[in-house]
Symmetry: C2
Subunit: 316 residues, 2 copies
């Protein structure tokens, strides 16, 4: 058994689903899922890490299959009572989900790191694969819009991605360290491939790439493959295509690929975008065309297996 590790970078629902597919194919010791922390925020005193939670709930089989986030069969009695008290209800906190935030918050207050807490929560949920925050230091994403700067969740949830974006910042990123398990894998030369899961490039993956050392790792001689969240000129989920348009970039797999120029060696695109494959190859990229829309666990797993095989081919 190899002690080499495939590093998966993941943000929200699409990233979580593909990472879960990878976990169906790879044993725990051969996969490390580094998760975006730019969405993390403190709300009503609770420390909430939406992407880590989405990945954990997806891996544990608890995730709501409709929304992709939150817990299947969740109840909302705390939210209903909070609404009755005139409290803030724009960020929906399910009753069971609240336990995750309470436990994380109290452990952070007790001095534990986000990495250690994520490890604890994962174990409690029966997850054997390694899910890690990209950093233990908060690096909040700031969404720059025509109306001014917005905290990520204000933009994403409260304002439902309505304001037109002009850019993004990851506050404190330059001073943040990769989380200890990621740093250990990086400095130990244990990572032999990286897969950028189909997550929003601007607000799910770029905040991961902003952590010092991560881009350098991806630009080293390991094969890096990015799976496109853009399918047929739109995003499967979330505001990726809307953001591209607002930034003056046509939402296409070509422009998606361009976003990772110098980082990705290969790109995985959906069958509906097959016509773009030739142009991508002309631009020096390796291209895998397959079914990328993870409507079922079977597709989730086959996308992971195909992507891993494709990535292995790129290995020098």
């Amino acid at each position: 058994m190899s002690d080499m590790v495939c590093l998966a970078l993941a943000g929200g629902v699409g990233g979580a689903r593909m990472a879960h597919g990878l976990a169906m194919v790879l044993p725990p010791e051969e996969l490390m899922v580094a998760v975006n922390i730019g969405d993390d925020f403190t709300h009503m005193g609770l420390r909430i890490c939406p992407d880590l939670d989405t990945v954990m709930y997806t891996f544990s089989g608890q995730a709501d299959p409709e929304t992709g986030w939150g817990i299947e069969g969740e109840t909302w009695n705390a939210m209903a009572a909070l609404e009755n008290l005139g409290g803030p209800t724009w960020f929906r906190l399910g009753d069971r989900d609240l336990a995750t935030h309470l436990e994380r918050t109290q452990r952070l207050a007790a001095g534990e790191t986000l990495s250690d807490i994520t490890q604890h929560l994962s174990a409690a949920l029966g997850i054997h694969h390694r899910i890690i925050p990209v950093s233990d230091t908060p690096v909040p994403t700031v969404v720059e819009t025509k109306d001014g700067d917005l905290a990520f969740q204000d933009y994403f949830v409260k304002l439902q991605c309505d304001p037109a974006v002009t850019g993004f910042r990851f506050d404190g990123a330059s001073g943040a360290m990769p989380s200890p398990p990621l740093l250990d894998a990086m400095t130990g030369g244990k990572i032999d491939a990286a897969i950028i899961c189909p997550s929003n490039p601007y607000v799910s993956i770029d905040p991961v790439l902003a952590i010092p050392g991560v881009q350098e790792l991806l630009k080293s001689d390991i094969p890096v493959v990015a799976v496109s969240p853009i399918v047929g000129g739109t995003a499967i989920k979330g505001p990726a295509a809307k953001m591209m348009a607002e930034l003056g970039i046509a939402p296409s797999v070509a422009n998606f690929a361009n976003h990772y120029r110098g980082i990705a060696d290969g790109i995985v695109i959906d069958i509906v975008d097959e016509a773009d494959a030739e142009t991508l190859r002309d631009n020096g990229l390796h291209v895998l065309v397959t079914d990328t829309v993870m409507t079922t666990d079977v597709i989730r797993k086959s996308l992971a297996a195909d992507t891993l095989a494709f990535t292995a081919q790129l290995r020098g």
Copy 2:
């Protein structure tokens, strides 16, 4: 309409029920319920005020009729999930109840006072009577036991009142101020009677009496009546009788009355303790013998009405 106010001092379930009875009889402007804050604590980052919540839930008709605390028909999904995560579950937080703690915690963090927050929560729950914390400053009760000092909720909930008590402290009481609405009523000479509801004298009422100015108010020329939580040598609810025994005091209405010597002018005892009335009167106390066990709303209201009439007789 008088601008005079009856001040009710209340702690847990018995106190909340009697205070609610008083609210059935008196209009909002003639009653002020000053609630114990010695039980208040911070748990998992949440500021929890059990006695204020019990009084509010009782007044709003939400209180669980079986336990007297918590919310009727409560669900426990957050606790079940927390248990699954290995979190602390010794203090049971219902899903709806969590909303109260979240809203209070975030308002405290935003700089609001406990008085203002309690006013807000009361209004949101449709409560017109004034429920106020005795102070806005935390004055945590410390239970002194043969095994050492214990934080109140560790003694009361985690250890189920098992350790034998040797005494009680109210940390910071001497430097605490009465809450603004209480101070305003006190200094304005608006309080024309006080009723000590049937709450635990040691851990529900004494922490109220420990706030500077409260004892002086009760020792002034207003009539003060204490309703005994000791009935037939035991406590209707909670550890009052157990505490008395551990302190070497026989749990009787006579010894209960003795606890408030110099403070209470009159005492209300249950019919089962009628035989003790004469001794109490010999000791200079006015005594009302009535049905004090509030098994129904009717008794709750009649106890309140009888106690108010009795108190009015004591007025100079």
